[in-house]
Symmetry: C2
Subunit: 190 residues, 2 copies
């Protein structure tokens, strides 16, 4: 037990995949919660340097990029976090290297957390059929058309897949994601 949090996620490495236009709070707050629980987090993006957040109705602060998507392997991480913000997921889902990484994390049975517009990138994996999810309401039709069961709840958990709707859900989202990571890997999916 550290003085700042717990050791619940000690030794766990979490990939946070985002690019310019991520919703500031949806990256920073779950990142802090995961680190307070003992995890090591890496912000992974399309380019090195930093990425620019989106805070409500305008650009926000920069966040340091730890690794580029070209430098990482899904096998090196215990979990994936996809923050929202309408701009970042809209860019990420067009990047084949991001889609490969996210697909591998989804197939592995490791915990995957996606909040707000974050689940758009999950659609590109083709692995949402029959999965229970929630999201920002604009994505509902897209997730349903991808085969998911969508409900309007603070946090929806389905065998390691943790989704939430908006920044107001962050505390519940972070707590559930930490629990799912601590429980360990689910059975891999074909």
């Amino acid at each position: 037990m550290s003085i700042f949090g717990s050791d619940k996620l000690k030794g766990k490495r979490i990939a946070i995949v985002a690019t310019d236009g991520f919703e500031q709070s949806e990256l920073e707050k779950p990142k802090k919660a995961l680190e307070d629980a003992g995890a090591e987090t890496h912000v992974i993006s399309l380019k090195s340097g930093s990425i620019k957040g989106w805070d409500g109705n305008d650009w926000g602060d920069k966040v340091k990029v730890d690794k580029t998507i070209d430098e990482v392997q899904a096998g090196s991480y215990d979990a994936l976090l996809l923050p929202g913000g309408v701009i970042s997921p809209d860019k990420l889902r067009m990047e084949p290297r991001v889609v490969s990484f996210v697909t591998e994390m989804m197939r592995s049975g490791k915990a995957v957390g996606a909040i707000c517009h974050g689940p758009w990138t999950l659609i590109e994996t083709g692995l949402l059929r029959g999965r229970n999810v929630t999201s920002w309401p604009s994505l509902r039709s897209d997730l349903q058309n991808a085969g998911a069961q969508w409900t309007d709840e603070t946090v929806v958990t389905d065998k390691g897949l943790v989704t939430s709707r908006n920044p107001g859900d962050i505390p519940a989202f972070s707590q559930k994601l930490i629990e799912e990571i601590a429980e360990g890997q689910h059975q891999p999916r074909s």
Copy 2:
């Protein structure tokens, strides 16, 4: 024939539906092309006053709102234009009044033009099954999952439905939309 354009669309009224975050050029340039062809255009939004464009990587200029969505009837218009910009369609598709208006325009067989991220709002009508479309590439999976046939072309026309990919396609998009409006209403769809 006016000194600035043609009378091809004389007497035609065009609804341009957008909100904050529309891609500046994708509203202003087709609007001008439609007006130069003799049409009357109305910028229709969620609130009166003005809406703020998006220009490349940041907020752009304001555009005057002519009518709110509460004030208009689909029956009063000969065609619909849905500009892109990642933020505006993401908001519009969540508004039941907008979805009703767009659905009625799609059902009527009148010309509907949607560019870039504009087609997201069309997904909410549930009327894309079997239709030929294009869009900004991030929407491809969403449109395909909604039942549309997606191709990567400058402009795709399918019985009055005109779609394009990005600001570079605007000249071809505007020209094709004008042609489709001039041809008159297609058979209504159930």
